[in-house]
């Protein structure tokens, strides 16, 4: 009998090799206590969180918590059912209303996660004979949505208008087409040139879906995302997003003005065949989304912190994935796997948690230490972080050959 696990042997050996060097597992961190959106206890030690996507710091917002507590008492711990059976409560409707108001769109569908929102929208919108045209660096949930569906999948070079145009030109003019873009790409923290890309998609008769997971809350006049800031709202057919970042809880959604949108509730399998979000979660989300409509101060602080971290790291000799600060993700380029893991561990020992990313999650085989900012990070925390980055970089010899 062959062991079904033997296909994982190479990965198991690689991990064992890293761990044998006395390095702790970067993918097995436990937050023993969480004190605020920016501080947790890890291994008994107070640690600054610099890799949580908790951009707007809504996880501990007193209004959000109060709404969740009330819903938990009033509606119970869970719905035990699908949105289309017994799992749509008043709170789910209120959450969808909050999304419609936030985005100024006529339809909103709440999924149990952002992953499932992409899985559902991508696999359902484009069917047999249709084409999906997606950016090469698309999130795993978009790729997985492609593989769940039956459309023909065409991939274009990351953020390249020229490549998108070339690939669209080769497709049959009469075929249905869905172009999938992201506002912010989460690995490098770069943003998409949506003005150009959306114009090309429209010129070729495609519908456009933009994933704004990392742009919601602080791009554009109303915080709707990069597509709003780029001024292309009228040409975007679907916006997908998540509650697991700026909104500060868990869940996913799609908003749209398409007149037939509501039919998706019956034909979108990742929406239909899973239990709906618990009442407390949708209550937290609705409250948070409504507060994010008027979060100008937090937005300004988040941008200020992001720019300072970006310029501070450059000043200290780090190589970053973007020349200027494009989003609230600041990615530090690392030379190889071993230095990345050692640097990540040195940061943790100094009391700063950042994300470590490696291929295949990253594009072009790069190794990254990814930082994401929170509007609640203080100026002192930022100074501490920069100081510790410099210390850790020196300790692992990152600047040795510079």
């Amino acid at each position: 009998m062959s062991d079904l696990f033997s296909k994982f042997d190479a990965l198991i050996a690689e991990r064992a090799g890293v761990l044998a060097k006395g390095i702790r597992d970067p993918f097995a961190i436990v937050m023993q206590e969480v004190k605020s959106p920016t501080v947790a206890i890890i291994d008994g030690k107070e640690t600054i969180l610099l890799g949580t996507y908790n951009y707007m710091g809504m996880t501990f917002d007193p209004d959000v918590i109060a709404a969740g507590e009330q819903a938990l008492r009033k509606f119970g711990a869970g719905t035990t059912g699908s949105r289309v059976l017994n799992g749509t409560y008043q709170g789910h409707k209120e959450c969808e209303d909050a999304l419609k108001d936030f985005y100024g769109m006529s339809h909103a569908m709440v999924f149990s996660t952002g992953y499932q929102a992409n899985l559902g929208m991508v696999s359902t919108l484009a069917g047999k004979g249709d084409f999906i045209i997606l950016d090469a660096d698309s999130h795993a949930s978009i790729y997985d949505g492609c593989y769940l569906g039956n459309a023909d999948i065409v991939r274009f070079k990351h953020n390249s208008a020229e490549d998108l145009e070339k690939r669209l030109r080769r497709l049959p003019p009469e075929a249905g087409k869905l172009v999938i873009l992201e506002g912010v790409y989460s690995m490098l923290g770069d943003i998409a040139p949506l003005q150009e890309l959306v114009a090309i998609a429209k010129a070729h008769g495609a519908m456009v879906l933009v994933d704004e997971a990392h742009g919601m809350g602080f791009f554009g006049e109303n915080g709707r995302g990069v597509y709003e800031a780029a001024g292309v709202a009228d040409d975007v057919d679907f916006v997908v997003g998540t509650f697991s970042k700026s909104v500060g809880t868990v869940g996913g959604f799609c908003v749209s003005n398409h007149p037939k949108f509501e039919i998706l509730r019956l034909v979108c399998r990742p929406y239909t065949f899973t239990a709906s979000l618990p009442p407390a979660v949708v209550a937290c989300a609705a409250t948070s989304i409504r507060k994010l409509m008027h979060a100008g101060d937090k937005r300004a602080r988040l941008w200020d912190m992001s720019r300072k971290l970006h310029s501070g790291l450059i000043a200290r000799g780090f190589r970053l994935a973007t020349d200027s600060c494009e989003s609230a993700i600041v990615s530090v380029l690392m030379p190889d796997q071993e230095t990345t893991v050692r640097m990540w561990q040195a940061m943790l020992e100094l009391g700063v948690y950042v994300n470590m990313s490696r291929p295949p999650a990253t594009p072009a085989g790069v190794f990254l230490l990814r930082c994401s900012l929170c509007a609640e990070h203080s100026a002192e925390q930022l100074d501490t972080v920069l100081e510790r980055f410099a210390m850790a970089g020196t300790a692992v010899g990152l600047f040795a050959d510079a």
């Binding site: 090469a136 492609c146 023909d152 065409v154 070339k166 080769r170």
Partner: protein, 81 residues
Amino acid sequence: MTDRAQVYARIIELIEPLNPKKVALTEDTSFAGDLEMDSLTVMDLVASMEDEWDIVMPLNMLPDLETVGQVADAVTRLVTK
């Protein structure tokens, strides 16, 4: 008119830079097994073949294309379509 022999020869040239271990390339050489290509490399190779012949090779075709010979057949079909 592009015939299969020409397509095959050009595919070999496109694979060469992605074959650091200099594995011998034949009709039966497999991308995942023999060439140890990861999925990103395979997708980039597909993009270069699309541009070479001005064709569309949807990614959902890939599971059926395991060897160099199978890819040459598929490209030939798409080019002469």
